[in-house]
């Protein structure tokens, strides 16, 4: 079964935005047209700024359109862990900011009449294991300290689970259709004068004394401020040492009974499963989704990705009367060491460049927070969240362990690039299979399609030259170091890489590379210009 996002499949009318054509001059340029970029654009346009959004692919087509559509105050890292890694004040600020973001999204859907199925409902957090009881209790306590209403409860009514050890409930959380919401916002903000460009890739960015310059695939953008809203900053950036890339999986199913529980659930035992329900075309719930199975991007167990979907499906069939599996997809998130996103000026010396990253798997709410906060910073309005999310804070003693672990992991990926022990014949690759092989002293990412055609690219990631791995569930090449992902033809999907994997030609008779006269992969002129 091919992967397809439920949100992409249930968005009937997708507005088209043009590609940039020529040079422009604006107050603020925003790189990335997801929920972060579009929310920032809306806030800045409302404040009277001249804004341009530059999206490399389609608006909402990145992680926003591949998420799970849940809006909630708690966070995957747990607020009580943030209280430990930072302090209670930061945890409270994060919780209150997320609460405010929910209200903001609800307000936008009403004001702009966006048909995105926004609906309030409770969040449940429960466990059937003794060793997770304290986690549930501490999360409730931290929420209460933040001044928010959360309670320990004795039952999770829609599920009525046996052997429930501890459960918590928080009312007033919400669901929505994230892609319809972002496209609705984009349409509204474009009508207000914001320039939105799709299929426009930013290749270079320079912060000058009194302005910024962005070189794109379709022209140069001059601006006073830049917001890099690409989930993780593109190019090489120091934040990539403290925001590690992970993937998680979603399976969407219909139920025989049609009894879809109207709530969002976290079932945390040895593994974490998120259970949610959504609607395809109306407010009526008609789809159950199970999400979970996080792992570092490009580092699936035994490089086998299908089993992550299979496990979610098995979980669903154990707990629900599943009629059919309709959609399966996967999404990326970035984890900061202290569990708090990095939102703000990109470096201590930066005056004009802003970033937003490290959202964990809670990005729809955090993206909204980022949009509000970054607009407030650019327009000079006060915002009480700035200190908590400071993007220049780096690491601290409490997060040093995580920092070392993640970066040793990256070093270990580089050490796998050993010039021996690789399959080196194209005939070793079966139809539907992808492998990295070495030919003529070059690492190649080779995929053989069902028609027996070979698709060959350099296997060297264009970000920082790790060797990409094949993702057999999504048919992509995923970089295990910093999370760049590429399509079979080498095109960038997401992550920090700017340039596509270099395409290669192979002589099928001799199985040697054909010298096309272009640059070898070791001799690129432009790459990773953002430092």
């Amino acid at each position: 079964m091919e992967t397809q996002s439920f949100w992409e499949a249930t968005t009937p009318h997708r507005p088209e935005f043009p590609a940039l054509d020529g040079n422009i001059d604006v107050d603020v340029a925003i790189i990335g047209g997801g929920i972060t970029g579009i929310t920032t654009a809306l806030q800045l346009t409302n404040a009277g700024k001249k804004v341009a959004v530059l999206e490399a692919r389609r608006v909402g087509g990145g992680t926003t359109g591949w998420s799970t559509g849940n809006l909630y105050v708690p966070v995957g890292f747990y607020l009580h862990n943030i209280a430990r890694s930072r302090n209670q004040e930061v945890a409270s600020t994060v919780a209150r900011a997320r609460y405010a973001a929910l209200d903001y999204i609800e307000q936008q859907t009403r004001e702009k009449n966006i048909d995105c199925h926004f609906s309030r409902r409770p969040w449940y957090f429960f466990t059937q294991e003794d060793n997770m009881v304290s986690t549930v209790e501490k999360e409730v306590e931290t929420l209460q300290k933040a001044g928010l209403r959360a309670d320990l409860v004795n039952d999770v009514p829609p599920l009525h689970l046996p052997e429930l050890k501890r459960a918590a409930k928080m009312d007033g959380q919400a669901r929505f259709h994230p892609l319809r919401y972002v496209l609705g916002l984009a349409t509204a903000v474009a009508q207000q004068g914001c320039q939105i460009y799709e299929h426009t890739t930013v290749l270079d960015l320079k912060e000058k004394e009194d302005h910024c310059l962005l070189v794109t695939s379709h022209g140069v953008v001059t601006c006073r401020q830049v917001v890099i809203a690409t989930h993780i900053p593109i190019g090489i950036h120091s934040v990539q040492t403290v925001a590690a890339p992970y993937r998680s999986y979603v399976v969407a199913m219909r139920l025989k009974s049609g009894a879809y529980p109207d709530a969002y659930f976290w079932h945390n035992d040895k593994t974490h499963h998120a259970i949610t329900t959504h609607s395809s075309t109306s407010m009526e719930l008609d789809m159950l989704m199970i999400a979970g199975n996080h792992h570092k991007t490009g580092q699936a167990s035994h490089q086998e990705y299908q089993h992550y979907f299979n496990e979610l499906e098995a979980y669903a069939r154990k707990h629900f009367d599943v009629a059919s599996v309709e959609f399966r997809w996967s999404a990326q998130h970035y984890r900061s060491g202290d569990g708090v996103p990095y939102i703000g000026l990109t470096h201590k010396s930066a005056k004009r460049t802003y970033i937003a990253t490290g959202f964990y798997a809670d990005g729809l709410t955090y993206g909204t927070i980022a949009g509000i906060q970054l607009a407030d910073m650019i327009t000079g309005r006060g915002n009480s969240w700035i200190g908590a999310f400071d993007a220049t804070r780096g690491t601290n003693l409490a997060t040093a362990g995580s920092f070392i672990k993640e970066n040793l992991n990256v070093a270990a990926q580089y050490l796998k690039d050993f010039p021996v022990g690789k399959a080196s014949h194209f005939s070793d690759i079966k139809a539907g299979e992808g492998k990295t092989i070495e030919v003529d002293a070059e690492k190649l990412a080779v995929y053989r399609d069902e028609q027996n055609q070979l698709h060959v690219c350099s296997a060297v990631c264009t970000h920082m030259k790790c060797i990409v791995n094949f993702n057999n569930a999504e048919k992509t090449w995923d970089c295990p170091c910093h999370g760049s992902r590429f399509m079979l033809d080498g095109s960038v999907i997401e992550g920090p890489a700017i340039l596509n994997l270099e395409r290669k030609q192979v002589d099928p008779q001799t199985e040697h590379l054909i010298n096309t006269g272009g640059h070898t992969s070791g001799e690129r002129e432009i790459n990773n210009p953002i430092t």
Partner: protein, 113 residues
């Protein structure tokens, strides 16, 4: 004296890996990063051992240390260019290797004469 022999051992390993890497740079191919990230630390350990030896006092191969330090600066610069996608100048790679070889020869002369 054992320290200087250990230092020579690490430099010898670094030199072998460095020559292997040079064949990639001269052909314009991507360098295998496992070798890059082994070559550098080997040379660093060699330099550290050499510094420990020199700090103990007495006659010392300071000329070798200077040459290795210059080679190290070139190595760090090449690593920066490599990882950020900029081409490695072939002359720089050769010069880095020649500096290191000169330092290594002087070290051998010092240790075995």
């Amino acid at each position: 004296m054992e320290i200087i022999y250990a230092s020579i051992g690490f430099f010898a390993l670094a030199a072998l890996l460095g020559m292997y890497l040079l064949t990639f740079v001269l052909r314009g191919k991507e360098t295998p990063k496992a070798i890059v990230f082994t070559h550098g630390p080997m040379a660093v350990i060699g330099v550290v051992l050499l510094i420990i030896y020199i700090l103990k006092g007495g006659p010392n191969p300071w000329e070798s240390l200077v040459l290795f330090a210059l080679a190290a600066v070139g190595g760090v610069y090449m690593l920066y260019r490599d990882l950020t996608g900029r081409p490695i100048p072939k002359a720089l790679a050769v010069g880095h290797g020649l500096l290191a070889v000169c330092g290594f020869v002087l070290l051998l002369v010092f240790a075995f004469s």
